[in-house]
């Protein structure tokens, strides 16, 4: 919200306080000033145009002015024609830098000297009006412009949603006064009342149909107004707050909105059918042509102001064109009402129309504010538009604002802040903010917040009021610490435990990624992993409308992105939850959120390269699971969505399936616009963490080992694991380890067969084995393999 420093001076004495100091003080008390723009016009002087004539030679339209500067007259050339003789204008003399940054020079334009520049409002940064020279309505030639237009400083302040009272200059000024320890110059409630006869309430009929949605409606009658432009000072203040001046009546209602935060509306009373105002819900099919020229369909959810026949305004949002003030308007109805915040928000949202008024009503305004705003506006109308304000307005107030009372134990302030604030200081702060404090016999305080503060209701709120003005900078930082007789032992977090897996992966060349959990639901369906996916009902876009059920689609996209950017051999992983709608569980609607590890790696372009990559990925699974302290995984041939039907394994930890690994299905790779082959794995981590155990040391062998290789020739379909099982069974105890290390097809191996080489290590824990003993075991192994798998042997 834009705040004018000059405007604040109406309410609080800012002598000796620079705009920057004021901005800092506001930030300190909780009104964050995001930026401060200072417009310094002190170098500009006032001139009076004595003579204006057209430049005879210039091809452009230029006007030559003789300008009285008090002590002398200068010749100044301008492009705009509006500085007619007699006009008071702002003059920038040669050597002056105008607020918009332009340096004025001593010029000669086609034979005529130009000793300065007449400024537009835009050049002085007073508005975006560049249609002509700014014509002043007061001032003395030769005087500085600051004698009529003070230097401007505009703050962009952020007002938190609990403080609608600060969505106006008066509320801001009150905060500033408290922050600077100064008193407010004006009372919240203006004393102004109308005097004209007859009583306003007899001139208009007001009713509220739905007191839940409108708790107060004040309709003030003012007759005999003269519609015209507002004075410059008022226009300037509106412009400083980015509001366009229209006419004095509309400008005054905007002015009071920006001052008191109370939205107002001015109707042309002659256009209200039956002289009636009804606050009611819109009827189905009703429409309203609004002030912005848009014809809007209304629904019964929306609250409207209607005359005897039809809606004339959408309550709290925007007025209607037909009942608006025009140049011909003489009698007006001034509306100051209190509309229900959620209702206004809903209406504004449904219409896609957020106005200065709706932005304030949305937050929930106090009904007492309506009267203050109405009085202020009536006073200004009477002063600036010459109207007769009638006495005793219509004021329908079905639910008077409940006063709030808070019982405060004042020592709570020190207890919560952790610093001593003297009681009289606390009391002074509350009083400056408009609170009434009555000290009771037992030392407790009976506190009444001001009527415009609906956000204060519990003692902690009062602590905050005192604290923010006293200054949190004065609270010394401390660390809490008292003797505890209860605790829970420290255990490493899941994230920290999984760092072991991250280190394995980093060592193996894999880089961790964090990918968005919201992905395209259509893509999940195309990949056939969307069956249990949760779809967002209000997605921002369809490429992130669904929660992912697998980490792999994201990781495959990562490979694609990095390949596009020139990378080869991409190896990436992610540790994150996926989201699976529950099947058949009615106890909770929340989905399962299993924590997963997903890994994807480039696997070259050939069947062979990808086979090698498959086995490398198996080692990654083993390494990741093993490093967490879980027992070894087993692998079973399987088929799964996303995976190559001949190159996919289910990963098991004991009897529990953790997930799948393998080469990705060629159609999946193609679906995501990739070429070549990829290997991947995705496993659940929760069961791995649950199975983790402390590693127990094995004693080191005391006797030497004997190593043998064995090349087993079997038919293609015999799996290495099956051969292994036979070897282990035949060898009994002497075999310390056995591991397949090579597969061979070709010379010496019959068609349809393969040769699998194993490395065997024999060792006894009790003695040194002899070659003869090992030869005997090897012979038994061969015999078993021949019998079970018809194996032959290569040497």
């Amino acid at each position: 919200m834009k705040i004018s420093y000059e405007w604040l001076r109406d309410f609080v004495d800012l002598d000796g306080v620079t705009p920057k100091e004021a901005a800092d003080a506001l930030t300190r008390v909780g009104i964050e000033v995001e930026s401060l723009t200072v417009i310094d016009v002190s170098e500009i002087v006032i001139g009076r145009v004595l003579e204006q004539k057209k430049h005879p030679k210039s091809r452009n339209d230029l006007w030559i002015h003789q300008v009285d500067l008090g002590d002398r007259t200068e010749q100044i050339i301008a492009g705009a024609p509006n500085a007619v003789p007699g006009s008071l204008v702002p003059v920038a003399l040669p050597g002056t830098t105008v607020p918009n940054g332009k340096l004025v020079k001593d010029l000669n334009i086609a034979g005529f000297s130009a000793k300065g520049m007449l400024c537009s409002a835009e050049e002085l940064l007073l508005s975006d009006d560049h249609s002509g020279i700014l014509i002043l309505d007061a001032g003395k030639p030769g005087d500085p412009l600051t004698s009529v237009i003070p230097n401007q400083a505009i703050m962009d302040a952020e007002v938190t949603s609990n403080r609608p009272d600060c969505m106006g200059h008066m509320g801001i000024a009150r905060e500033l006064a408290a922050g600077l320890d100064r008193m407010m110059k004006v009372d919240f409630m203006p004393a102004f009342t109308g005097k004209a006869e007859p009583a306003g309430r007899e001139m208009v009929e007001v009713s509220i149909d739905d007191p839940d949605l409108c708790t107060r409606y004040i309709g003030g009658v003012i007759t005999g107004v003269k519609v015209g432009p507002s004075p410059l000072w008022l226009q300037r203040r509106l412009r400083a707050c980015a509001v366009r001046p229209i006419n004095n009546l509309v400008d005054i209602s905007n002015y009071v909105l920006l001052e008191y935060a109370q939205p107002l509306h001015v109707f042309d009373r002659s256009k209200l059918a039956g002289g009636q105002v009804h606050v009611r819900r819109a009827r189905a099919g009703e429409k309203l042509l609004c002030l912005d020229g848009v014809d809007r369909d209304l629904t019964p959810d929306m609250l409207v102001i209607a005359d005897a026949e039809k809606p004339v305004a959408i309550a709290g949002v925007i007025g209607g064109e037909a009942s608006a003030v025009t140049d011909a308007t003489q009698d007006v109805l001034l509306e100051a009402a209190t509309f229900n915040g959620p209702s206004v928000r809903q209406t504004a949202r449904a219409l896609g129309l957020r106005t200065e008024a709706s932005a304030r009503f949305e937050k929930g305004l106090p009904a007492e504010l309506a009267l203050a705003g109405a009085r202020r506006a009536a006073a200004l109308i009477s002063e600036l538009a010459g109207g007769q304000v009638h006495r005793e307005w219509a004021d329908v107030y079905p639910r008077p604002q409940e006063p709030i009372r808070i019982r405060l134990k004042p020592w709570l302030i020190d207890e919560v802040l952790g610093i001593h604030v003297p009681l009289e200081e606390s009391e002074g702060i509350l009083v400056k903010l408009g609170f009434h404090v009555r000290i009771l016999g037992d030392g407790e305080w009976d506190v009444l917040p001001p009527v415009f503060r609906l956000d204060v209701s519990i003692p902690e709120d009062l602590v905050e009021e005192v604290g923010r003005v006293w200054g949190y900078d004065r609270v010394p930082p401390t660390l809490p610490g008292r003797r505890h007789d209860r605790w829970t032992p420290a255990v490493p977090s899941i994230g920290r435990r999984l760092d072991a897996t991250r280190q394995v992966l980093a060592g193996a060349g894999f880089t961790e990624t964090w990918n968005p959990a919201l992905v395209s639901g259509r893509m999940l369906e195309q990949l056939r992993v969307g069956a249990r996916a949760l779809r967002v009902s209000n997605a921002l876009s369809d490429d992130m409308d669904t929660l992912r059920t697998s980490l792999l689609p994201s990781l495959i996209s990562v490979v694609a992105l990095n390949r596009d950017r020139g990378r080869t051999d991409v190896k990436v992983y992610e540790i994150a939850s996926v989201f699976l709608a529950r099947v058949g569980d009615k106890t909770t609607q929340q989905p399962e959120e299993p924590l997963r590890l997903g890994v994807v790696a480039d696997a070259g372009t050939t069947a062979e390269s990808s086979r090698d990559a498959f086995y490398a990925m198996k080692s990654v699974v083993d390494g990741c699971v093993g490093e967490l302290g879980a027992p070894e995984c087993t692998f079973q041939r399987a088929s799964a969505e996303l995976f190559h039907p001949g190159r996919c394994a289910a990963v098991f930890l004991d009897a529990r399936q953790l997930g799948f690994m393998g080469e990705l299905h060629p159609s999946v790779v193609a679906e995501l616009n990739l070429e070549g082959r990829l290997v991947a794995m995705e496993i659940d981590l929760d069961p791995v963490l649950a199975a983790a155990a402390v590693k127990r040391a094995q004693s080191l062998p005391r006797f030497p080992a004997i190593e043998r290789d064995l090349a087993v020739v079997v038919e293609e379909h015999v799996a290495a694991a099956a051969i292994l099982a036979v070897i282990k069974e035949a060898a009994h105890d002497g075999l310390e380890s056995v591991r397949p290390f090579d597969e061979y097809r070709g010379a010496q191996v019959p068609e349809g067969h393969k040769s699998v080489a194993f490395a065997l290590t024999f060792r006894s824990p009790e003695r040194t084995l002899t070659d003869a003993e090992v030869d005997k075991v090897m012979a038994e192994i061969r015999l078993s393999l021949e019998k079970k798998h018809g194996a032959g042997f290569r040497t």
């Binding site: 403080r163 209860r486 959990a517 990095n562």
Partner: protein, 340 residues
């Protein structure tokens, strides 16, 4: 016939002239070889000698053998010393040539920063708590004193699945769940995790991000304790010279509420381009836990009070590593991720 002494002299002379290990090896075989070495040959005739001379020859041969062995050893030592004296030149390599790529992968910078934050807070006794990312309306809003129609709700515009089920907008629901589970304070927890808000992606915000929130519930906690905790955390992460300030603000779940800022690391608070001339960088929100929120967590606010805070991990990482665009964290470009 040669005698042991002249054999020895001959051998020592040859050793003296030898320049390489292979020459020495040849000399060794020539004199000391088991079958055809000259000493063996000399001794092979010992049986033909009279017994009285046998002993003398045997002794002489042994002495010759020892002398040659020791001369060989000495000469080898000398050659090795000479070789070592020269390796600075003979074996010099170009140490400016780079090593081969290590081929290692990288932990995500957000993982690293999150862990640093956890480490600092764990050193103060806080424990990590986790919770679901898909939450109910009650845990995400109502328990945090944000009833339906609350004007502040627009600050947490959320993704919904059903009217009651949404992606959590902050990790605060984990605070409520933790209070309900732990029941009896002291409670000192931190809640790292992913959050979601319906903000279109841009350089400073994303619809998905990660937070670390903290919660302390104990007896007699103060705003000063909260400030001290934040200052300890910031100084531990960014250096002892950093300052923290709290500015009054508003959240429905804390009273009083604050924004907390860190002094700019470049200008130390004086104001510069990087802090937009404010001297301070906004980091997160904090405050004393609202009594109603304690009640919603099953804690009696008459007996206990607390403070809480929250901030984005991305923001902390951006400050620490001079990262200017939040989208880099989730775009997964390896050229970015491999920098950390």
């Amino acid at each position: 016939m040669t005698d042991p002494r002249s054999l020895t002299d001959e051998a020592l002379a040859a050793i003296g002239q030898a320049r390489t290990e292979s020459e020495l090896a040849a000399i060794e075989v020539d004199y000391l070889g088991r079958k055809n070495g000259r000493i063996s040959v000399l001794l092979s005739g010992i049986g033909k000698l009279p017994p009285a001379e046998r002993a003398a020859l045997g002794q002489g041969a042994n002495e010759a053998k020892r002398a040659i062995e020791s001369a060989l050893a000495a000469k080898r030592h000398q050659l090795e010393d000479e070789r070592l004296a020269d390796i600075a030149e003979t074996e010099a390599i170009d140490i400016t040539f780079p090593g081969p790529p290590l081929g290692r992968g990288h932990l995500h910078v957000l993982t690293q920063v999150q862990r640093q934050i956890e480490t600092v807070l764990e050193s103060l006794g806080y424990k990590v708590e986790l919770g679901p990312e898909v939450e109910t309306e009650w845990y995400n809003f109502e328990a945090l004193n944000i009833p339906p129609e609350h004007p502040a709700r627009e600050n947490w515009d959320s993704f919904y699945f059903t009217p009651d089920l949404l992606l959590r907008a902050h990790t605060s629901p984990v605070q409520i769940r933790a209070m309900q589970r732990i029941k009896e304070p002291p409670i000192y927890i931190i809640t790292p995790g992913r959050c979601y808000r319906r903000d279109p992606p841009e350089a400073t915000r994303l619809p998905y991000f990660s937070q670390v929130e903290g919660l302390a519930v104990d007896k007699g906690l103060t705003v000063g304790d909260m400030k001290g905790t934040l200052l300890y955390m910031i100084q531990s992460l960014y250096g002892e010279e950093r300052k923290v300030r709290v500015r009054p603000s508003y959240f429905p779940f804390t009273e009083p509420s604050f924004e907390f800022d860190v002094s700019c690391g470049i200008c130390a608070g004086a104001g510069c381009k990087s802090c937009r001339y404010k001297g301070w960088l906004e980091v997160g929100g904090c405050g004393m836990v609202h009594p109603q929120v304690l009640r919603n967590g099953g804690i009696d606010p008459e007996k206990w009070n607390g403070y809480a805070w929250g901030f984005g991990i991305e923001r902390m990482a951006m400050l620490k590593h001079d990262i200017e665009d939040i989208r880099l964290f989730y775009e997964s470009d390896l050229r970015f991720l491999e920098q950390f």
